[in-house]
Amino acid sequence: MNLVRARRTVLFGQYVYPASFLIILVVVVKWPLPGVVAAFVAILCLWGSLLSFSRWIGHASDERMELKEQLIQSQKLLALGEISTGIAHEINNPLNIIMQEAELMRMNFQQDLTEEEVSEIQESLDVILQQVERCSDITHKLLDFARSRRPVTQTADMNRLLVDMLTLVERETDAKHIQIVKVFSNDLPKIKTDPPLLRQVFLNLLINAVQALDGGGLIFVTTQCNDGMVCAEIRDTGPGISAAQIERVFDPFYTTKPPGEGTGLGLSVSLRIINQLGGDILLRSEPGKGAVFTVRIPIER
């Protein structure tokens, strides 16, 4: 509202001010005394309108700020909703299994136990233990996420870290007909970073790429160095990520994978680690054209 008014004033002034100055000029030249008075009046008018004009602009920018804050707030709520749904979902699945098994056990205990029932109870107990383990894994990951370790930096060779992590996923890629193409810069400077944390990040990105390439494909792993940053790019020829999804893939617990395959923590944890190391992760992707994740780490830290 205020913004519209302010814009109108500016448009109006664009023609009116030069015109009024011309008129005053003519008047001053013809009748000096009334001319001077007119000039003073004009100055006052100009000053007044500029004053209210700047006030309107001020209001307008306040309104804008408010809007922006509201937007951030609702996005935060959205993220929180996402996280809660994620946690609930992750914990509900094992809980459900535990409940079923417990009921089964109770039924089995109602009569005298035959040998068969004893072994069934044994099985139930095993399943319950497994599921409790799964739950505790989830809570551990959550805790890890909440209080991630402070990085401790030492000298490391990014090419070497990548090669090591590639070796770990190689078996999987061989089985799935995925080919890995390495394009490593051979004059990459050593970096001061936290190697085990960086290993985790590369592993997460590589596993995502492997999972995205279910029907086979290519993974390009490229390293290079530009302006003080060492970059590792992991590109796959998978289905890619839509623009709407790109906004959310770094949210904790955002996943499109079935339970057991993905927890939705890989990218959020990775981004957090890289931020702690003073770097960032860039994501470029289009549906059908694969995804490109670029990790950038400062050389000195």
Partner: protein
Amino acid sequence: MSRIRILVVDDEPDFLKLIQRRLGKRNVDVSVAASGQEALQALDVIPVDVVILDVRMPGLGGIETLKEIRKRHQEVEVIMLTGHGSMQSGIEGISHGAYDYILKPFSIEDLLERIRDAHEHAVLKRNARKVS
């Protein structure tokens, strides 16, 4: 430089003996444990910088042992020993905070280099803690 103190955990006694002999000559103090449980007990009584942990062990498995070590002894770094048949455990190990992994069979030089890096990391971590 101070001697590096490591604990090697593997269920193969021959491997333990071999590694103890080879690393002993290289400025590394080697203790050994034959199982995950034994390793946890040992860590309670002897000071250790780096644990070399086989991922495949009967009883308390490698990953379980890693999780326990990370919970109880945060100043210790862990290097997982994986075979070609246990890559998945290597992946899990790294995700659960192992410092590094090494693939069997390995050269002693390679192992030594990784041990040195892990040791450096452990020392830096201890110092950072003292300061803060």
